[in-house]
Amino acid sequence: MVLDKGSNTLQEKVDTGEHDAAHAEPHIVPPILYIKIFSALLVGTGLTVGAAFVDLGAFNPVIAILIACIKAVLVVLFFMHVFYSSRLMKLTVAAGFFTFLVLITMTLTDYLSRAWGLW
């Protein structure tokens, strides 16, 4: 279903190709937004380093990954313009990260649960 919707979007673009003059120019992200994202990324880097020196036990890696994920989402949405992209592009990007999560989750589920009940 979802995939059908994606290909429909592409088909619509093909069908409405003649009207491209109306929306030929892509959304131009203003430099001020790039500067804000750049600053946020630097602050995130500072927070990551700062948090690493505080003993939070098991939450240290959680915080580090969480900040890294927020930084990555900012880069993907604004530096990579996904926020302003078509639904097909958003779906494509989401599919990539979903497949990556499948790789990590399924692999770790096996390794972390293999010795369960044997302790």
Partner: protein, 251 residues
């Protein structure tokens, strides 16, 4: 250019009808696309598909990292603590800066500022080279300390740490720091290779940008190379905490 050559052949008119005759298309519109919009969408889609394969390529190494970190955690802590947080943080900032200049390059291309585009691309090259230079200093130190996996690897500093506050590892666990350094060199090395490829492509783009190739409305090469460069930045955003910041407060 070649698209124009083909678009004026009679056979093409059969496919496109009055469309090809009545409209003036920009030179960069390839003949197999209906419109600039469609060409842009198809290029972005193709670039993202390539990046998805890249996610899975680095994903395999991240999966290996997570499993071995789970198995040999003390060795990973000891290995991670030999890295310089200062150099790692500077490099993170440098790379984020290069992503920023790349994004500004895309903006310059969109608003057709030729000198701005050349400047932004050149700054991106410069920051990329600074990153690789710092990486070289870090690698060199690892070779000098015999912390490169292989026949010359030394577990000495992990079994008998110089700093009394650093916990000593048993010889078998200390040997597993080689697993950490293997992953360190594989992941940062692959990342550095991507940067070298990116810098080479940027050099080409600077030459073409000086000729005005990307400030005539044709933003795609700059925009989609930007996607690659930002992707490399994202990989580092994850590599930095995972490799440099494992348990920085050993009890």
């Amino acid at each position: 250019m070649d698209s124009h050559a083909i678009a004026v052949t009679p056979g093409d008119h059969l496919d496109h009808g009055e469309h090809a005759v009545s409209h003036e298309h920009p030179a960069y519109l390839r003949h197999h696309f209906e419109s600039v919009e469609q060409q842009r969408e198809a290029s972005a889609f193709g670039m993202w598909l390539f990046l998805l394969t890249e996610i899975m390529f680095f994903g395999g190494m991240f999966a290996a990292y997570l499993i071995y970190r789970n198995w040999y955690y003390p060795a990973f802590v000891a290995g991670s603590n030999t890295l310089s947080i200062t150099l790692g943080t500077i490099n993170t900032a440098v790379l984020i800066g290069s992503s920023f200049t790349m994004a500004m390059g895309v903006w310059c291309s969109e608003v057709r500022k030729k000198s701005g585009l050349v400047l932004c691309l050149s700054l991106t090259i410069l920051l990329g080279l600074v990153f690789l230079g710092i990486k070289y200093v870090e690698y060199k130190e690892k070779f000098e300390l015999h912390h490169v996996p292989g026949a010359n690897f030394s577990i000495e500093k992990f079994v008998h740490p110089e700093d009394p506050k650093t916990p000593a590892l048993a010889a078998d666990m200390a040997a597993k720091t080689q697993v950490y350094f293997s992953l360190y060199f594989a992941m940062t090395g692959m990342h550095a290779l991507h940067m070298i490829i990116g810098i080479s492509m940027l050099c080409y783009f600077v030459i073409r940008a000086r000729q005005g190739a990307y400030t005539n409305g044709y933003v795609q090469p700059i925009e989609y190379f930007g996607l690659y460069w930002h992707f490399v930045d994202i990989v580092w955003i994850f590599l930095f905490p995972l490799l440099y910041l494992i348990n920085r407060h050993p009890k």
